[in-house]
C-alpha cells in the first residue's frame, strides 16, 4: 500500500514519513514567502494539518510532492494577501528608505545567511514576486497569475527586489 493510501487508512506513521520527506522544502518556501522563520513555522503546521484533512482531494494526477507544494503555495499566498493591506504602509516606508547610491562593490561572495536575511527584509509585494520568480523558478506570467498582478508588475517587482537586495547586501560588507 502506498503512503497516501496508508494515511487515508489512518496510519499516522505514514503521514509522518510524508512530513519528513517534504517538510524542509515547504518550510523553506513558507519562511521566504512570509519573510520570517516564525511565520514559516506556523504556516508549515497549518499546511500539514490541512494536507491531512484534505488528502481526499489528491487524485494522483501529479505526485504527492507536487500536490503538497501547490497546497503550501496557496496557503502562503492566502497568508501574504491577507497581510498585504496591513503591510502597505510599512512597504512605503521601506521604499522611501531604500535609495542606492553607487558605493564600492562588495568583493566577497554573498553568504547564504546574508542573502536569506536580506530576502526576509524585502517589502511585501516584491518579496513574493522575487521568491516565486528567482527562487522557485516560476516565469513572470505564472507569478502574475499566482499573485493576481500584471506580468509587467511582476517584472518590475522582481527588479525592485534585486535592487533592494543589492543595497542590503552592500550594507553587510
Amino acid at each position: 500500500m502506498d503512503l497516501v493510501a496508508r494515511v487515508r487508512a489512518g496510519d499516522l506513521d505514514a503521514f509522518e514519513t510524508l512530513y519528513r520527506e517534504h517538510a524542509a522544502r515547504l518550510y523553506t518556501l513558507a519562511c521566504r514567502m512570509a519573510g520570517s522563520p516564525e511565520d514559516g513555522e506556523d504556516l508549515l503546521q497549518e499546511i500539514f494539518l490541512q494536507a491531512y484533512r484534505k488528502l481526499g482531494s489528491f487524485k494522483g494526477d501529479a505526485s504527492i510532492g507536487t500536490w503538497l507544494y501547490r497546497l503550501a503555495l496557496n496557503h502562503c499566498l492566502d497568508y501574504v494577501r491577507s497581510r498585504r493591506a496591513k503591510m502597505n504602509k510599512l512597504t512605503e516606508t521601506l521604499d522611501a528608505e531604500s535609495s542606492f547610491e553607487p558605493t564600492a562593490r562588495r568583493e566577497t561572495p554573498i553568504a547564504r545567511m546574508d542573502l536569506e536575511r536580506a530576502v526576509e527584509r524585502l517589502p511585501e509585494g516584491c518579496r513574493e514576486a522575487f521568491v516565486l520568480h528567482d527562487v522557485e523558478g516560476f516565469d513572470h506570467r505564472e507569478v502574475a497569475d499566482l499573485l493576481g498582478i500584471a506580468e509587467g508588475t511582476s517584472k518590475s517587482q522582481v527588479f525592485k527586489a534585486r535592487m533592494k537586495l543589492r543595497g542590503f547586501l552592500r550594507g553587510q560588507r
Binding site: 489512518g10 522544502r25 516564525e38 514559516g40 503546521q45 484533512r53 482531494s57 491577507s82 534585486r162 535592487m163
Partner: protein, 265 residues
C-alpha cells in the same frame, strides 16, 4: 548615454534579445559603473540559485501530530477520494499549541503576563509511563513485590499531582488574562470560546474520573495531561485573538477565529 537599470537587470538575467544584449555589451566595455551593477546583479542571481533548504524546528511535527490526534478524538479522519474538491485551496486553520508569530507581536502587558504563565508550562515534562522505572530505581531493595507496587503507584500519583498543579496554575494565569480582556471580543466569538472551553473542561473532568477509578492507568494519565495541554492551547489562542482585535488586525483575528471554530466543530 547609460542604459536604464531595468535594462541592465534584464541583461543580467538573460532576458534581452541577442541584438539588445550586444548593444549592452558594447556599452559595458567602456562603462565601469554599469558593469559594476551587472556584476552585482549576477552575484545575487548566483547566490539565489545556491540557497539551500531549511530544516524546520523539531517541535513542529509533534504539534501537527497532536492536532491530528485531537481531530481523531472528534471523529475526523483524512478525507477519502471524492469527498472533497480537486483544488487544495486552504483556509487559515490554526494548530493547537502553535506559538503564533502573529501572537508574538503583542501588546507588551499581555505578552509579559502570558510569558510568565507559559514559563511554568515550558519547564514541565510529565511523561506517563516512565514512573514505574523511576520508582523501581528509587527502591531497589524493596523486599516485597506488593510494597514495590505500592511505592510505584504512590510515586506516579505524586508526580501526576505535581504536573496537575503546574498545568492548573498555567491555566489559571491564562484565564485571568483572557477574562480581564474579554470585552475586546465580539459576543459570538466569546460564545464560541466558552463553548470550546466547556468541551475541554468536560474532557478534563472525565479524565479525572477515569483516574480516580484506575489511578495507575497510563492512558488515563496521558489523557488528562493532553486535555490540559489542549486547554492551554485554546487559552493561548484566546490571548492571541485579543491582541489581534486590540491591534485592529482583522485579518489576523479572522484566522484565529477560523481555527477556533474548526476546533469547536
Amino acid at each position: 548615454m547609460h542604459p536604464t537599470e531595468e535594462v541592465l537587470n534584464a541583461y543580467a538575467d538573460g532576458s534581452l534579445t541577442a541584438s539588445e544584449a550586444a548593444d549592452i555589451e558594447q556599452h559595458l566595455g567602456a562603462c565601469l559603473s554599469c558593469r559594476q551593477l551587472v556584476d552585482e546583479l549576477r552575484d545575487i542571481l548566483r547566490a539565489t540559485s545556491d540557497l539551500e533548504l531549511r530544516e524546520p524546528p523539531v517541535r513542529v511535527w509533534p504539534r501537527i501530530e497532536r492536532a491530528i490526534q485531537l481531530d481523531r478524538q472528534d471523529g475526523a479522519q483524512p478525507v477519502q477520494p471524492g469527498d472533497a474538491g480537486t483544488s487544495p485551496r486552504l483556509t487559515g486553520a490554526r494548530v493547537p499549541g502553535a506559538t503564533s508569530a502573529r501572537s508574538r507581536v503583542v501588546l507588551a502587558g499581555l505578552a509579559a503576563a502570558a510569558a510568565l504563565v507559559l514559563a511554568t508550562v515550558v519547564g514541565l515534562r510529565y511523561l506517563p509511563g516512565r514512573h514505574s522505572d523511576t520508582a523501581g530505581s528509587r527502591s531497589p531493595i524493596e523486599s516485597s513485590a506488593q510494597a514495590s507496587a505500592n511505592g510505584a503507584a504512590q510515586a506516579v500519583e505524586s508526580e501526576l499531582r505535581q504536573a496537575e498543579a503546574h498545568y492548573e496554575n498555567a491555566i489559571k494565569g491564562l484565564e485571568q488574562i483572557a477574562n480581564a480582556e474579554q470585552g475586546a471580543l465580539d459576543p459570538r466569538t466569546a460564545a464560541t470560546l466558552q463553548k470550546n472551553l466547556a468541551v475541554i473542561d468536560q474532557a478534563i473532568s472525565e479524565s479525572r474520573a477515569a483516574l480516580r477509578s484506575q489511578p495507575a492507568s497510563e492512558p488515563a494519565q496521558a489523557s488528562l495531561i493532553e486535555n490540559f495541554k489542549t486547554k492551554i492551547g485554546l487559552l493561548q489562542d484566546t490571548v492571541a485573538l485579543i491582541n489581534e482585535m486590540r491591534k485592529g488586525n482583522e485579518a489576523g483575528a479572522a484566522r484565529i477565529v477560523s481555527g477556533l471554530k474548526e476546533k469547536g466543530n
